[in-house]
Symmetry: C2
């Protein structure tokens, strides 16, 4: 063909091409049908898009990205859309299409000898857990949204959760990835090797890149022996400074079997007890600080209860731990966990909230808790400091709820001032303004404020190297 | 100044500038003094360089790289120079300078609450282990060269070793890095956070990049509770197919306390017994396959011996494990480990060897062992197949020693044919031709042969993004 035809560009031409390539059933264009894909769960972000496309295979994802690249149209990859930083929502320009991975939801393989599971990006996290369990093994990633978040999103955001202390973040559970690059090329990196030193670790670059470097379509993930003994306890502390000692003693006494080590301040527990039906205070009086501890072992008869008691006895005596409840059954353990897990819901029911997902070195966490509350309250006197999270990882959700006498709008108008107060303190303590929720659209400005210029510039170079045309998730992270 | 002077370029101008900036004491120019920095331990590579420069601080490393970039001179970073793939040796052109990190050897901090240690790149691995131990904690990276390799090299090559099964590869032990980029800029990424989702994980890109993307000058590394109970056993197997079952049973029975799970074939044990004085066969007759198992726990009285016996009893009865020796003391355990650790030395004493550091999914390892030996022997009939390594990681050193009647040169001339035979099989079994030793200069051609073109191209783009002038470690990896 000698005739030169300009390649059709722009969203309309792209939609025609997508419909031809994938069929009409893969496309949503009706505003009502698209709505759930264009807004985040908290209602902070509502974007626009000409189409939501849901490919059913890696080849189709490749087609979508190739066509989008050719048309010069940007693409917002989306998993379960449960993120808290607006990273999976298109902006209001309407210039980006949404690429939902929800139809790529097969568990491709479970291998009990290799301790691996191979899953597609659209698998709901709970389905991955179940598939592992059915093979007698544990997939340890566990977080509040596990019933609706999808593993591709967990990977793209390097999700954390309640078992990081023992099993690591999502990135630590990854052996291999399959990724479609911005131009549609497929990287077949689904290796399931424990050791592979053949070049740069691309998989680790894609994990946590929030869909800005490539679209993860499948992953090989690590599995673990299923816990056979689990012990759960709620401890009451006078001073969070004693928590580090408790953790260290428990790690040694149990042979590193501490799976969760969660912190809750008094306000967060009281909110959960007041706002959520069915929660019951296991103690006879309120305490200032609580630790929810879970020990687990694949070994039947691991003696975890004895280890726990041996650690607690001297600390209870000398007053570091004021009181303790050991769950005597599965339901009792669940009741303790339910207090911890319903805090976000309780917070929502109690009014507007400002959330700060921060981390510091473990040794600085007591100081953060001590100084962070007055720093935030100086900006909004009378507000409720709701602090809870993953003490063992140095990660606390250091939130603020609107004070009784203050309207929602007036409270939310204080957002930047409160964030400034807490993030400056976190920076002073050598911490991170984004521990597990990521950057997304919410925290982009903080990246340049709190990270070295050299680091941000290196990130920009990597982005340009892998997505030179800027097709993937514009406006997110960088 | 309005006068335009061309910036002096080339090695001679650079050496003058380095001497001015760092002082003559930081430079080696005498051929005899430089020799140890220009050849690898095995004697496979001897390069040339106009100077070996040894900066004493991060600022000095920065100066070296800035000056080298300005002069357009390439730089070969070097740690303990114990690598096996020629990755720290300059080529024969004499156009690169060697940048030795040996003078940057301070342990900056040990924090027992955070379970972290902050070290400079030039620390010898054994010194890092010792510093952790003195704080009552464990730094678990352990490998044959630990008395002379330096942690910067371990990081640059993502070193493996004998405790990967339990604690992961070097990259899994890294929390933060300090890196000097090719142009001399310093990335201050020494964060010691367990959770930090603020952008791409640069640290994971530098780890394992073999000095081609930046020069690691310091690191924050994870520590663990010190093991208080350690049990060591040597098992004799009829068929390596039974090893997977033993490993799975041990992981469950001990609560995931299997630290090492090392394989040795009969030839490797016999070599160690014959060639190295002091090694004693703990069994009364030879066996075809051996597993060296180490269990460890931070818990005093963890009952590991009981767990081990409970796993072995039924397997010994039904014949999967033919015989077993449980070490009854520290010295007995050391004697068992010594057999395993002296195999490389024994192999060297026994003549010329061809080494293949390969990995496959754990489930395919028995097939690799079964089919790999005849595949290599078809290329060199009568050679000795010396197979040993990290079974639990799917990683075996599948080596070949020269046959009695064959000269060294004739044997070494078969190198490519033997590599072809074993690497093709490894590829068929979805494995890696470089498990823990890296690419360096030796395996560069295999990267393009066995890794997808998309992956290699992405690596090239990342290299150009971070080292656009190609200053760092030319000819290594890519």
């Amino acid at each position: 063909m000698s005739e030169l035809r300009p390649r059709p560009t722009g969203p309309d031409a792209l939609i025609d091409a997508l419909e031809t390539a994938l069929g009409a059933a893969a496309l949503l264009r009706d505003p009502a049908e698209m709505a759930p894909y264009l807004a985040d769960q908290r209602g902070w972000f509502t974007g626009r898009a000409p189409v939501v496309v849901s490919p059913a295979s890696t080849a189709e994802v490749s087609t979508v990205l190739r066509l989008a690249s050719e048309a010069g149209v940007t693409v917002v990859p989306q998993g379960g859309n449960t993120g808290l930083v607006g990273g999976s929502i298109p902006d209001e320009s309407g210039g980006s299409i949404v690429l939902s991975l929800r139809r790529m939801n097969r568990v491709r393989e479970v291998d009990p000898v290799d301790f691996t599971i191979t899953v597609e990006a659209g698998c709901v996290l709970a389905e991955v857990q179940t598939a592992a369990r059915e093979a007698g093994l544990l997939f340890p990633l566990s977080l509040a949204a596990e019933g609706s978040c999808r593993i591709g999103g967990n990977l793209a955001t390097n999700a954390g959760g309640t078992a990081v202390l023992r099993y690591g973040n999502t990135r630590d559970l990854v052996l291999g990835l399959e990724v479609v690059l911005a131009d549609g090329r497929i990287w077949e990196g689904l290796r399931r090797l424990r050791k592979d030193n053949t070049g740069y670790k691309l998989a680790q670059l894609f994990v946590g890149s929030e869909g800005t470097l490539g679209v993860i379509t499948a992953a090989v993930l690590r599995l673990f022996p299923m816990p056979r003994e689990v012990r759960t306890a709620l401890l009451a502390l006078r001073d969070p400074r004693d928590a580090g000692v408790v953790l260290e003693a428990l790690r040694s006494a149990t042979g590193d079997a501490v799976t969760s080590f969660e912190y809750m301040n008094r306000a967060s527990v009281e909110l959960a007890l007041e706002q959520v039906a069915g929660n019951v205070d296991p103690f006879d009086r309120p305490h200032d600080h609580y630790l929810l501890v879970e020990l687990s072992s694949a070994r039947q008869g691991a003696g975890l209860l004895e280890a726990l008691e041996s650690v607690l006895a001297p600390i209870l005596e000398d007053g570091g731990v004021v009181d303790a409840v050991l769950a005597q059954s599965g339901p009792q353990a669940e009741a303790l966990w339910r207090i911890r897990e319903t805090i976000p819901e309780a917070q929502r029911l109690a009014g507007a909230g400002l959330k700060h997902d921060v981390s510091v070195p473990l040794s600085r966490l007591p100081e953060l808790l001590e100084r962070g509350a007055p720093a935030m309250l100086a900006e909004v006197p009378g507000a409720l400091v709701v602090a809870f999270g993953h003490f063992g990882d140095g990660n606390v959700h250091f939130n603020l709820n609107q004070p009784p006498g203050m309207g929602r709008a007036a409270f939310m108008a204080r957002r930047e001032a409160v964030e400034h107060a807490i993030y400056e303190l976190v920076a002073e303590l050598e911490g991170s303004f984004g521990a597990e929720h990521g950057i997304g659209r919410v925290k982009r400005a903080y990246l340049t404020r709190y990270r070295p210029a050299v680091e941000v510039e290196a990130m920009r170079r990597l982005k340009r190297a892998l997505d030179p045309a800027g097709i993937l998730n514009p406006g997110v992270m960088l």
